[in-house]
Structures are given as C-alpha cells and as structure tokens.
Symmetry: C2
Subunit: 114 residues, 2 copies
C-alpha cells in the first residue's frame, strides 16, 4: 500500500521511488493548475480576479481546479462572509514549495522552446 490520495493507485515495491512523482504530477497536472499556482505564488487573489488573470478559463473549470488544489492541500480558501461575498485564495506552505518547482519547469520549458 502506498499513500492513497483520492483513490490514487497503490505503490508496488518496485515503483515506490516513482510514486511521489506520479502523485505530484497528478496534483499539478490539471490544465490550469500550473498557472493558478503560478499566480498565487505572487499574491493571494480573489475568485473573479483569478478569472480575469487567466483568459480562456471558464467559471466552472476555475472552481473545479481550485477545489482540487484545496483538497490536495496546495491552496487555501478563505471566505469573508459579507455582501457581496469575498473569497480569497492563497498558497499553503506546501503550495509555496511547489511553486518553486513550477519555476524550474518554466525555465526548462523556455529553453526547450528556444
């Protein structure tokens, strides 16, 4: 048995090394998760602000991806119970560490494209 995050497959003995990799890729592999983490690494952002910062994303997908990131402990969601509602998103400690990896991925990607 391995970690078992959200029903993710077990880790057999031989691939135990790769499991954390698969898990991590699974957590940041969503179509918009990279840029969401990237934006949140700079500052906490509100829902519609995030929407404006990510052209092309639908309300539905933004909600879904944020919920998954939240469930995985990468993003924190803070609701200010006022009218109009105010919901702010920011990275957790783990999310911040992830963002530095996103950075190195971007460095690699840029070099790859050049």
């Amino acid at each position: 048995m391995g970690y078992g995050l959200k029903g993710y497959g077990d880790c057999s003995e031989e691939v135990i090394r790769a499991c954390p990799v698969e898990m991590a890729l699974h957590m940041i592999g969503g179509k918009w998760k990279g840029i969401i983490i990237d934006i949140l690494s700079e500052k906490s952002v509100r829902f519609n602000e995030l929407r404006r910062l990510i052209p092309g994303i639908s309300q539905r997908m933004l909600t879904l991806q944020l919920r998954e990131l939240e469930a995985d402990g990468i993003v924190k969601r803070v609701v200010d119970d006022t009218v109009p509602p105010k919901v702010e998103y920011f990275l957790t400690e783990q999310g911040n560490k992830l963002s530095s990896i996103i950075d190195s991925i971007r460095v690699w990607g840029k070099e790859f494209l050049s």
Copy 2:
C-alpha cells in the same frame, strides 16, 4: 501565437509566462511518463526491460507513451535491425535536464507524503 507543439493551444499575451509551464506539464503529464523518464535517467533500457520495470503498464501504453516522448524530443529510440529485434531507448539532452526536475518533484512529493 505561441509555440504550437502538437496543436497545443496558443499563448495569449497575459499568460505568456505560463505557457512553457503548460507545455512542459503536457509533455510529462502522461500517466507513465514520469517513471519512464526516471528509469531512463539512469541507463538506456530495452522495450521489454522497461515493461518489466514498470509493473501494471500495458504494452500498448508503453508504446504510446514512448512514441509521444520521442515525438517531443525527450527520448531517443534506436533500432538494432536484427532477429530478434532489439530496440533501445534513452534520454536526449533535453530529457536529461527534465529528469533533474523530476528529481525535485520527487523530493517535494516525498516530503508531502511524510
């Protein structure tokens, strides 16, 4: 217009920073690509050897993922034209650089799981 790898979406102005990230994640986001790159980072491996090293993967998926990695320039495929056939896979220069990122992802993942 952005890079345009395999019909991947365009990069608008505001998300130009995130595009290399999306591209990279798209290239390593396959279910088995992480572990394949991981294994190849140590040594070049033959097809069936790779199969044995990745319990649970089907022949079809191994072929597909290798083909994609090859098309993306991460993996090289060398055919020794003999009987029985011998096909060896190894990382390209870009693939090697990627494997160090995989390493840091694993470090993060391990810490996340602990």
